[in-house]
Structure formats: structure tokens, C-alpha cells
């Protein structure tokens, strides 16, 4: 009852024109920022941070949280429409979202990504409100051995991502892991494979690689196949382009599962929405009656990816608010914002400033409602992208890719990296190598290496097997690779049926 009373106080603080305008402004900026490749949620939050200095602490934090939440949804728009994930966590959304657009069902892709995003957001926020205390304690039990095991579990999703192409997937993920070692060693600072080229000291920046592998390779494939000359798919006038309520209801369990997975993974600092979406997508494919449809444009894939990455926002706020540990890079910027407004996150925040905490919780709920409203309004605009002829769309995608790659570090070198990976992605796609495992390898590479070596330093390899949580995660990862492998060995028909998200 006390919780409800606090929440209702929080909602009361949001009644009024100014707080609602602050939330709406945050949602609009978040959606636009997320949709723009190169502007990550953390960057969008950081960009707007100075504008909150003149606001009260509560309103400032409310606005930044609204941006954070909305940016996670915004990333899915370009992923669905032009195969260019606006944020790293939207990579998985593109696996099925873009094939839906190619099939002339952009409305389904956009609708499902919006509803799943909102559903995942609500799940994450409710879990944050109800269980933040015990979940924060669980996060503290994670040692490097567990982080390593969690990353390996994330890596095991390649068993799904490559469809039946096992060997190609392994090759692709190892290529990603190997390329991730370029730059300064994260533990000792030794320069590796940089050829004394200063720009390589930080390694390959993730966003240009992502844009290159997904967006540019798609453009080059389209140019090669002559798809550029085909007229755009005009939706059937007699049929609504948007899914109906029944269609959404069919996805309810997928959204629920993915929302919970996203929230739980989101609480572990460093794991974040990207790993959550890979794992949720993998699980959804495994429990699906039609795993072959994944990667070819199934709403279930979009729902799993979006619900999990939006759920991870609530998860990332658990350790931030209860322990003062940021669960993601965006949460790290929020931590800075809290401190700028002279608020110290941790258990005392709940006792000393409950009005701020519960206004924040309430604002997340309100922001989610506005994401739904503004998303529905905006979707009518986004869907027109599908009507643009490819020969006009492709040059624009390339120009956007330039901006997205340049924005990360203001570096022309990154734009070159984007082009190089675009060509690599095109070649790999041409010869049936899935590109998503390369991205996965690059995302998880540092986490795996750092935690593997830290664990070895702390007590040797045996730590992975003597700590129950780590052992459980490793066994899960092992089983998730082995079971489908054995299944695929049983019958040659399984290879034909397995879809691959490239």
C-alpha cells in the first residue's frame, strides 16, 4: 500500500502542463535520436543533459529518463525500414523487421516494434518498481566468472542466428572476436595490431562497423542484384497496413518472455539491451513452432527483440538507483546527471528523496504511454519510406551512414571503416556467411576477454566451474549449442527449414 501511495504522489507531481511537456519533449528527442544511426541512447541523453541544468532535479531526471526509454524504441524504426539499426540494441530488430518491409509489410514491422517496445518498457518498469531491492542484490553476486559465462551464453545464440549454417556462423563470430582484439589491450594497455596507427588504438568503433555490415552491405547487394530497378512495394489498398489487436495478442507471450529476459539481463552492469535482445531472440526461436520463419520476416522475432531491449531500460535503472552502479552507458550518463543535481544514488535516495524516485518511476510509465501515442502518429510518416524508389533511397542511406559513422568520434577514419565493413558485409552475404555473428563477436569480445583474464588472475580457470551461477550459465550455453546441433544431425530436412538471420 505504501508503494501505491508513493506512486500516486509521483503521478501527482506529473500533473500539470510543464511536466507533461517535459516528458513529451524527452520522448520526441529520444525517438529522433534513437532513429538516427550514430546517435546512441547514451549520446542522446548526454546531448540533452545541459538543457536540464535550469530545471528542477526531478524534471531534469524525468526528461533524461524519457529520452533514454524513447531512444531504445527509436532505434527500431530505421532497423525495420532501411536495415540500418539506429542503436546497437536494434540490430536484432532488423533481422525480421527489414525482411517484413521487403515483403511489403512495413506496417507490421513498425506496429509490432512499437507495441513490443511499449510492452517491454512497461514490464521493465513494473519489475523495477516491485523488485529493485532483491534484483540489485543478485547483480552484486556476479563476479567476472559469471560475466564471462553470461557473455558465452550470449555468444551461444549464434546457433540460432546462422540458421543451419553452423560452420559459417562459427567462422563469422570468430572473425568478429578476432577483429575486436585490435587496439589497446583492455587490461595491460599493450598496443595490439594497430600498426602504430593512432586511430586504431581504440579499436574499431562499434557503430561504423554495425552500419557498414548491415546498411551498406544491403545497399551493395541491392545494386548487384538489380533490385534497385524494381518499383517499391505498394501496400494493398483494401488491406490495412497495420496489424490488428488480434495480431498483437498472438505475440503476448513472446513480449512477456522477452520483456522479463531484457529486464533481468539489463540489471547486470555492462550486459545491456544488446545482449538481452540476442538472447531473447534466440529463446523465442527455440520455443517457436515455426523456427524456420525467423530471419525471414516473422513478427515474433521483432517482438522478442524490441520487448527485450526496452525491458532492459528498467533493468539498467535497478543497480543505478539502488546501488549507484550504472547498468549501461546511458545509465552512466544518468548517474552523472543525478550527481550534477546533487543527488547521490543508492539506498539513501529512496529514504531521503522518495518524491524524486517515485516521480521518476511514474514518469517512466507516462513516457511509455507517450511513446505509444507519438509512435503511432509517427509510424504513418515512417511507413512512407517504403514507397521511396530504391534508386533514390540507396544514396540517402549511404549519406546517413556517413553522418552516423562520423558522429561517434568526429573521425573520418570511422567513415572509412564503415565503407570497408560494408564491402566485407557484402562479400560475406554473397557467399552465405551470416553477418550478425560478426557483430555479436565484436559486441561481446571485450566482455569475454576482460572477464576471462580477470577470472584466471583471481583464481584460475577452475573458478568457472566451482561457482554455481557461472557453471549453470556455462551449461546453459553448452546445451543451447549442442541441442540444436544434435537435432540438425538427426535429419537433413532440418537444415532446409532453418532460417538464418543474416
Amino acid at each position: 500500500m505504501e508503494l501505491l501511495a508513493h506512486l500516486s504522489d509521483g503521478l501527482e507531481n506529473l500533473l500539470g502542463v510543464t511536466p507533461i511537456l517535459v516528458v513529451i519533449a524527452g520522448v520526441i528527442v529520444g525517438i529522433l535520436g534513437g532513429a538516427m544511426p550514430g546517435i546512441s541512447p547514451s549520446m542522446a541523453v548526454a546531448l540533452l543533459l545541459p538543457f536540464t541544468f535550469g530545471m528542477s532535479a526531478t524534471m531534469g531526471i524525468v526528461m533524461l529518463c524519457a529520452i533514454y526509454l524513447a531512444a531504445n524504441y527509436g532505434g527500431s524504426i530505421t532497423a525495420v525500414m532501411i536495415n540500418t539499426p539506429g542503436t546497437p540494441s536494434a540490430v536484432v530488430t532488423a533481422f525480421d523487421g527489414y525482411p517484413l518491409t521487403r515483403k511489403g509489410q512495413a506496417g507490421t514491422g513498425l506496429g509490432v516494434s512499437l507495441i513490443a517496445s511499449v510492452a517491454g518498457g512497461f514490464i521493465g518498469i513494473f519489475i523495477l518498481i516491485l523488485f529493485s531491492g532483491p534484483l540489485a542484490k543478485l547483480a552484486l553476486k556476479f563476479w567476472p566468472a559469471e560475466y564471462f559465462a553470461l557473455a558465452i551464453l550470449g555468444l551461444s545464440t549464434i546457433a540460432s542466428l546462422g540458421g543451419g549454417r553452423w560452420l559459417e556462423s562459427f567462422v563469422a563470430v570468430l572473425l568478429g572476436l578476432l577483429l575486436n582484439t585490435v587496439g589497446l589491450d583492455p587490461l595491460s594497455g599493450v598496443s595490439r595490431f594497430t600498426f602504430d596507427f593512432i586511430r586504431l588504438y581504440d579499436g574499431f568503433s562499434f557503430i561504423p562497423v554495425l552500419i557498414g555490415l548491415f546498411a551498406l552491405s544491403e545497399v551493395f547487394c541491392g545494386i548487384e542484384s538489380g533490385e534497385v530497378n524494381t518499383p517499391p512495394l505498394v501496400p494493398d489498398k483494401d488491406k490495412s497496413p497495420w496489424p490488428g489487436v488480434r495480431d498483437y495478442l498472438k505475440l503476448k507471450y513472446a513480449m512477456l518472455r522477452a520483456g522479463i529476459i531484457g529486464t533481468v539481463i539489463g540489471i547486470f552492469p555492462g550486459a545491456g539491451g544488446t545482449i538481452a535482445s540476442f538472447i531473447a531472440y534466440d529463446i523465442e526461436k527455440r520455443v517457436s513452432d515455426d523456427p524456420g520463419s525467423f530471419g525471414k520476416g516473422t513478427p515474433f522475432g521483432v517482438a522478442a527483440a524490441e520487448a527485450s531491449n526496452s525491458g532492459s531500460v528498467g533493468g539498467a535503472l535497478v543497480p543505478l538507483l539502488t546501488l549507484g552502479i550504472p547498468g549501461s552507458s546511458s545509465a552512466a550518463v544518468l548517474l552523472g546527471a543525478l550527481m550534477i543535481h546533487e543527488l547521490q544514488p543508492g539506498p539513501e535516495l529512496f529514504t531521503k528523496h522518495p518524491e524524486i524516485v517515485y516521480t521518476l518511476f511514474s514518469s517512466l510509465l507516462v513516457a511509455n504511454v507517450f511513446i505509444l501515442i507519438l509512435g503511432l502518429l509517427g509510424a504513418r510518416l515512417w511507413i512512407r519510406t517504403a514507397l521511396i524508389p530504391k534508386r533514390a533511397l540507396y544514396p540517402m542511406i549511404l549519406a546517413f551512414s556517413f553522418i552516423g559513422s562520423y558522429a561517434v568520434r568526429s573521425s573520418m577514419f570511422d567513415v572509412g571503416v564503415c565503407l570497408a565493413f560494408g564491402v566485407i558485409g557484402w562479400i560475406l552475404t554473397r557467399y552465405d556467411f551470416p553477418v550478425s555473428p560478426v557483430v555479436l563477436g565484436m559486441i561481446l569480445g571485450t566482455m569475454i576477454e576482460q572477464n576471462l583474464r580477470t577470472t584466471i588472475m583471481m583464481g584460475g580457470v577452475q573458478l568457472f566451474f566451482t561457482r554455481p551461477l557461472s557453471l549453470t550459465l556455462l551449461l546453459l550455453a553448452f546445451a543451447s549449442v549442442l541441442v540444436p546441433y544434435l537435432k540438425s544431425r538427426k535429419g537433413p530436412s532440418s537444415r532446409k527449414g532453418a532460417g538464418g538471420a543474416a
Binding site: I39, L47, L167, E168, F170, V171, L174, L175, L177, L178, T181, D185, L187, S188, G189, V190, S191, R192, F193, F195, D196, F197, F220, I223, E224, S225, G226, V228, R391, A392, Y394, P395, M396, L398, A399, F402, I403, Y406, A407, S410, M412, V415, G416, L419, G422, V423, W426, I427, L428, R430, Y431, D432, G445, I448, E449, L452, R453, I456, M457, G460
Partner: protein, 184 residues
């Protein structure tokens, strides 16, 4: 050790690159009349991956040794390169046994190369003529390459992009886009 030091520096990268291209060329021409000719593309990819593993493995021997209880900066690259080489060789075995399908039929490759060339030119030119001119020029050239012939459309799209990027990215988001040495 001296040779490893050289191979790990800027000019060493050039040596690796030239050697890699030569090896790929040799493999390509050797397979021209063999039974593996329909799978030459796949073999070239595997060869390139093996070359990459080789470069990374060799260069780890020249890395500075700051060892801390059983692990060093060499651990991960050696592990990943070794595993990648293993799987690439297995893939090669499958290709040689013709267990994988032949290379896909080529589409309009020359148009892809020209598109990549235009993009490369725009990236290179950005340093001199700045972001706006380079991207506007790139859009115009790509539109022409992809078959657009309406001059008004080409000019409005490329000019519109320059205006849009200035207003949104520079004025609104305060991003500093390259202005080019010729203008700035």
C-alpha cells in the same frame, strides 16, 4: 624480433597487404581450370581468413609481454585466431569435397564497384571539399549511376540533403561536420 617489429608497424601493414593480395591472386589463377573453379569465390574468402589468422598469430609474438598470472595480451588473439583457422580449414575441407553449393551467379558487379568507388571518392574528397559538397556530389553521382535521369530531381535531392544535414546536424544537434581544407 626486428622483423616482427617491422611487420607490426605502418610499412609492415603494407607488406602484409601486398602479400595477401598476391596470394589471393595466385590462388585465383591456379583454380581457373580446376574442378574447384565454380567454388573459387568461397576458396578466396577462406584463404583471406587464413591470411588474417596468420597475420594476427605472427604479430602476437612481437607483442609486449606484460604477463599477469597466466594471461597476457596475447591470450585472446591467439585463441580466436587459432579457432578461426581451425574452422576455416574445416570449411575448406567441405569446399574441396564439394559439400557446399557452387558460388552464386554474379549480378551487376561493375555497378557495385563503381558505387564503392564513388563512396570512396566522397570520403577521400571530404577532407578537401568538406562534408556538404562531397555528400551532395556523391548523391548526385550515385543517382546517375542507378539510372536516375531527371536533372531537377538529382539537384533537389543532393541540394536538399546538404541543407537538411546543415540544419539538423549542425544547427540543431551542434555537430561539427568537416568543412574541408579548401574552404576552411
Amino acid at each position: 624480433m626486428e622483423i616482427l617489429g617491422f611487420l607490426g608497424q605502418g610499412r609492415g601493414a603494407l607488406v602484409w597487404l601486398v602479400a595477401g593480395v598476391v596470394i589471393l591472386g595466385v590462388v585465383w589463377s591456379c583454380l581457373r581450370n580446376s574442378r574447384l573453379a565454380p567454388r573459387r569465390g568461397r576458396i578466396l574468402i577462406i584463404t583471406a581468413l587464413l591470411e588474417l589468422c596468420c597475420v594476427f598469430l605472427v604479430l602476437t609474438f612481437g607483442l609486449e609481454d606484460i604477463e599477469a598470472v597466466g594471461s597476457s595480451a596475447k591470450t585472446a588473439p591467439r585463441l580466436w585466431a587459432g579457432l578461426l583457422a581451425f574452422f576455416a580449414l574445416d570449411q575448406l575441407r567441405r569446399v574441396v569435397r564439394e559439400d557446399v553449393p557452387p558460388d552464386p551467379a554474379s549480378g551487376d558487379l561493375s555497378r557495385v564497384f563503381r558505387a564503392v568507388g564513388i563512396v570512396f571518392l566522397a570520403i577521400w574528397g571530404m577532407e578537401y571539399i568538406g562534408f556538404y559538397l562531397a555528400t551532395a556530389g556523391m548523391i548526385a553521382l550515385l543517382l546517375l549511376l542507378l539510372g536516375e535521369r531527371r536533372i531537377g530531381f538529382i539537384l533537389s535531392l543532393s541540394g536538399g540533403w546538404a541543407l537538411f544535414s546543415y540544419l539538423v546536424f549542425v544547427r540543431l544537434l551542434l555537430m561539427g561536420l568537416p568543412t574541408g581544407t579548401l574552404f576552411g
